[in-house]
Symmetry: D3
């Protein structure tokens, strides 16, 4: 990799993840694995692993757990300078890893976290966006609290004013949005500022009231989204087939305003950890669009292959190199020992 | 769940289970996982998890290991008041977890256990059956020793006298029955008292000398068993297809004296732990027959779905709620993350 | 098993294997599993488990790690008397266990190991071959260093002079052969002395410049190898189909100078650890050829079934008995719990 | 033990405790040990282990973590029937275990927990106190929130009305009391209702403004407390000498209105886990006062010996029997292997 | 070390040891550490580590656990050829590791083990004693069962007839001796054949009815034992001071028929595992008496230093070299890092 | 902390550290703990934890293990930009953690590591020293290889030319210095350039042939070193008393050209991990001299307190804040729980 010609900023919440081991249920757990992850920080880690210059912006408590989250990011080479310290607590989530017909189960404990209580004016976007060419956020952040949504708007506005390209992963979490506003009241103003939209018919309906007649024809949905959000140049969706908790299929589609590109479908059986699968797609997509700007189809395939590899790695984040993703894209999915 | 309108008593042996980790063979094990389980206590745990009022009766040594077994039961809400303390040792079993074409391997070390040396008169069945409406036992207990078989008969007789419904899982273990009597000498007198019989052609032949021409037609076997044991109202069998240690199929049949009900077949691949699969079926069946007394077909499907979920959980016991089983029955086997 | 009528000697390197757990990538590892293994010692362990009288010859450093390697061998009953102590360090390898489409990854750190710096004359082959009837080595040892290759030749020559039967696993490792000679310069003189050759078209071409028109017809390759190495009585190859890191197929072919024997194909899905799969085949083959000398087809099937079982066991070595392999050969691959 | 002639109720918060292993600092932790504990539930566990009939009352969220907390209590035989389910989250605390000159460190994350948001009227004290003869609470509960303090007063009042004996562990935690009231505004009304007070000069000053000239003379303090709280019959204090995180001394004093009783001093070196040391003292004291009502000195010595043993056990709770405590009291602190 | 000029045979029981970790009590254990150990096999391991030629004789079940025990011995280089396979089960013991004032706790589960059911005639002492010059046994074996005691006598008689020197560790275990005979009926006939006796006033009284006026003067006891057992040339005792489970003192005395030799006293604080401390002393003593036959004082000091080191090593056996013991004897107890 | 007014550069080797757990000996280890550490990188980590701007310079292989080492540094905030990638392998060391009278044991495996094969010209000192005000190295680096010594001289010369203050920890490791030169030939030219020298009479004699009459009077040695190395303004030594592997005392002395300053002596009993104790002292000393430039005595006390805390933390590096060190300096060594 040459020195990257760009700087990417992502903004959102990073949480302490506590997960049971060996498919234990919560009530069996006598110890839990400790990691740090969250949608937008996971995207940042993917990008750092591909050699990109990445900055993660958030708000974390001024205690040892906040420090641990920062250290996990810094280890990958992410710039954490503009993470604000304050608030009372680090958001948490508990994960029970399913198998076969038993789904994984998440217990969120993120209310009143430092990020949920972030307020406009606390983050110096002028400095945080210094040198930035891409900004990424997701639908999880405005779902957390009214003030987080306000800071999200602050960030998107600041990014748009500076001509920074903006991507969003619409990512609806039904257990969030508990603060009195619906996504339909909040999301449109944010998405209007975005250049790349990743989402599906589920979010289109809930966030924007957009439905299309034939859900199997993504071009219809993409065109409808473009009509509503004319700034968007790429509209992307991923399709996960859940045969069981241990066996999924994964594919994606990208509409670039003209053409529909589709990726191959990966059969992911013997899944190790599917949490973060969408974030690893997003990280792969941003890297792909930046690295091969004229080949959206290649970028899409890169993103899907990246996500396929994530399913083989325990934890929230995708620890793969560009070279490893390309090896899979180019057909080596045989898993032969490399020695 | 409302307060359950019934009290279920199960009787049998609970053992210390020592199992190797990560598919290690015994000779690789430097530590072993510690659990407590046994056929009838596993059934009790399933029932307690569904909100039933359950009492487990047994005999355990008056040492720390006996105490540990009791604590594991009490944690689930099982009434352990009528567990008698005495005898020399807790029964043990060692488990080496197989994979692919290598079978799991069990080393029993349960001779002269407290339950094997239980004697008639030691358990106060009058008090143990106080308030009970259902009694469950299995073919393992009379296989352990002559005195355990005698206590089994004592229990069945006491239950039958009180009009308590009795279920039995015939469950033949060829390594047991070492005390000089064959199942054919012992089992008939016990099974005559039962209302619900779970077993297959294998046990029918060994225990009762019953064979049918066409083993694929369960109605034939069920009718033959009914002819011999006229008290039995439900005759049930489970069919496990073992493609490998990691991949099984599982289904079941129930003949209610008139009609044959059959469940869907589950494909259980990437199995986490199949020990206790039959006990979780039994627990689901009792709960089903009690909860939906007029829907034997629903009860059967509940039992099979419950057992499918057990295969995803490490250990002897099935840690699932009624709601989780119903979710699977109603078709959600996709294993999508619940958040 | 009766007292074995033969003594087998294997020669090569045994290394410290440090592997990540639970499919972690190297950068996630906070602890690593410690084992000791290497191609020829793995073969020796297989043979010892089948009850053979086996001696492993090597050179190990005179420190605690060398001692640990010896202890791991001695535990299985292997004679370690002729392991020479000396040199600076134990060879190491680091293993990251893959899954699904992510391959396992090996980092070798074996340069300047005690075996790599072994010199002719250091091993007393006269005594090491005392009572021996079979000698096994592999293409890994001469790939390590010029002096290891020289000692390999010393050993093969001494064995041939004594009329000891010699087997070789050609086993090409492209990351080795760094000492200035190509396999084509080294291997022919060694293989000329061998009676049993295990390898495929890949090694035939790189080592001996032998290619055949139709690679799918093993008889062609076998005949060509026989033409070049007339001493060889059995020429054998294994065929691994890598569907993913978690799912392989495995089969093998043996040409006995007249007839081509082929084994059934095993479907190995949910693989636990495929490292050492080839060595377990080799161990099974030697045991098979010694135990059923007139049934090469049975020996081949034994070897393949042995290797199938290895894929279910963590670590480098195959911990199965002859009886367990035969159970699988005879069709019981159902993985039903043995109790 | 005969059937206990009494029933003890304790009320407070039970939390999920997540602790680092092997003296790791938070930033080193890749997994954490999972337990459930809290001041008043720890007292309940001690009492259950001594064979007492104990009921723990609290409020827990209706999720898997709340369920886990209940199961941990039920395992010991504690009656959990009157634990109310509701509220948003289980309180948590993170523990980093110190050593030598490095103190252990606790991060509380208990704001807005189910217990903190408990409200008067939610707990049916009439039923919860059914059959009760002793009620125990601590100064931690009213420190958590105004509503928890209100429920504490509700409980104490209900207990006092029923003539139930009340004990309190004053237990000041400076990081709590964040809800706008000081202990001095809240505690006196609660403590007025108590019969047994455990605390020291630190709490006496902060809670009640009571200071004595000579802090080394506990009789002075005890008399001053008695003057203020005439209902109190026993006033007790513990004295911990902290030589290092690994080496403490522990002793206690009890003033029974007339006489001052003092315990021997234990030297606790090589401490395994000192969290819960005070709770184990409290549990021992209640058991002692109930079991040997005429021997306050013996009760005190029992409590101190119980606490000494707690320091040797990992986790929050004291897992010892009455017999083990008495063995230590009677002088066997030699730690000889019992076999 | 030169090739050892002697062969030592030890006879007794080796058990599966299952121990809790990190000072957990039994009821906290979710996994247990797996080891294999027993008094006489522990002595054999010590001797093998000093380079002695050692053979361990016992009876073990013909299952995987028996095999595991053998492998643990073979790893150290012990000759296991004369271990007889048969009987039903491997003896077990469960260990809860104490700390500070809490003693370690052992639950034996060794009744009806293969060794307990060994019978005279099963072991071919002729071959087992081939080449032997020293035989060691302990008071534990005749305590297990009448038949084990009979085999013990068989062994001692055979050894004495061959002029093999015999040592015994009197080692009284009060929980054994359950088979209807007292030590006083069994031990004298066995000890009469011994040359080296290790024991104290406790055993002297229980086994032989020997008491001396002044227990602090070991010469008195030694002389009394010599009077009773004139064959004994060395009479030895160890003195353990138990300050706590974590802090002991250790010293020993040897009376050689003329002179009393005493060792220095070691202060063992921060003990890691004291089980096997006596066996490591015994191993050191035999090695010392064989290696420095004219220096009983040096042999005694070697034995005590060896035992001191054992207390720092987890498990039953002492894994130290002669050189490491001598380094400590010569005064380097500083524990400075060796690099 | 304000933004630090200085930038510190350290240069040396960082290794993969593989250590046994729970005081196991090497031969017991079935898994090992993985960390990354080395003298000069440990100093860098200490300084980063105090908030200093630190850069670590080294040479690491271009493989996953090299990457892991970099990530461990980056997590703490150390600038790793000038770490050169190249060479064949990461240096390793294996650590067996001792206890009581058994010393810890280190097996180095660092020959031919990337740092050992670094060559002059490979590191761009011009850029590496950009903005630097302090440079630290130790006697370990020139002990590794002739070329590492040459690069050390290159670095010291470059630093001295730029007026950067230079500190050295003389740190003699007798197992190194294997490349044909003695310390006396190499060290003087390097130390001549240093401003702060940490070492004792042992190094003074071996490196410089300097001996003093009275080794207990550090002023004599310091004056002699100053006479030889007139640039040195602070000459410092640490004194470790090794009572056992678990119990040390620790103190230090600093001579500032005029006055001798001495620290208090810490009693470190129950030591968790003493590896890195000297490096943590060095890190504390540099931070102290930079932060309180006019108070060498305070700086020295800070360094000793920092090192005391290191002994309580597993691993190579000291994970403490300035505030925690000051709390200990100011007398709070009580280890009371902080909550």
């Amino acid at each position: 990799m040459n020195t990257p010609p760009t700087r990417i900023v992502t903004f959102g919440e990073i949480m302490l993840r506590l997960s049971t081991l060996r498919h234990q249920r919560f009530r069996q757990a006598r110890n839990m694995e400790v990691e740090y992850g969250g949608g937008e920080s996971n995207v940042a880690v993917s990008l750092a692993n591909y050699g990109q210059d990445v900055r993660f912006v958030s708000r974390l408590p001024d205690n040892d757990l906040g420090e641990c989250a920062i250290r996990s990011l810094r280890a990958t080479g992410i710039d954490t300078t503009y993470i604000v310290r304050g608030g009372k607590r680090l958001g948490l989530y508990f994960l029970e890893t399913g198998a076969v017909q038993r789904p994984s189960k998440v217990i969120y404990d993120r209310e009143d976290s430092s990020l949920a209580t972030v307020a406009p004016g606390q983050i110096d976007w002028d400095r945080a966006f210094d040198g930035a060419t891409w900004f990424h956020w997701s639908g999880i952040t405005p779902a957390v609290s009214a003030s987080a949504a306000a800071v999200c708007l602050e960030a998107c506005t600041a990014a748009a004013e500076r001509g920074i390209r903006i991507s969003v992963d619409l990512n609806h979490r039904s257990k969030l949005w508990q603060y009195g506003k619906s996504p339909a009241e909040v999301m449109p103003a944010l998405v209007e500022l975005c250049d790349v939209i990743v989402g599906g018919s589920y979010e289109a309906e809930r966030y924007f009231g957009i439905t299309v007649e034939d859900k199997t024809d993504f071009t219809l949905l993409a065109r409808a989204l473009r009509a509503r959000f004319p700034k968007a140049t790429e509209i992307v969706t991923t399709l996960r087939g859940s045969i069981s908790a241990s066996h999924n299929t994964y594919t994606a589609l990208l509409w670039d305003g003209g053409q529909l590109h589709s990726s191959p479908t990966y059969h992911l059986t013997h899944i190790v950890d599917r949490v973060g699968g969408g974030d690893s797609f997003m990280g792969g997509l941003i890297h792909g669009l930046l690295t091969w700007p004229d080949e959206p189809s290649y970028a899409l395939r890169f993103a899907v292959a990246a996500s396929a590899l994530k399913h083989t790695i325990p934890g929230d984040v995708n620890l793969v190199t560009e070279q490893e993703v390309i090896a899979l894209m180019e057909g080596d999915g045989s898993g032969r020992v490399q020695r």
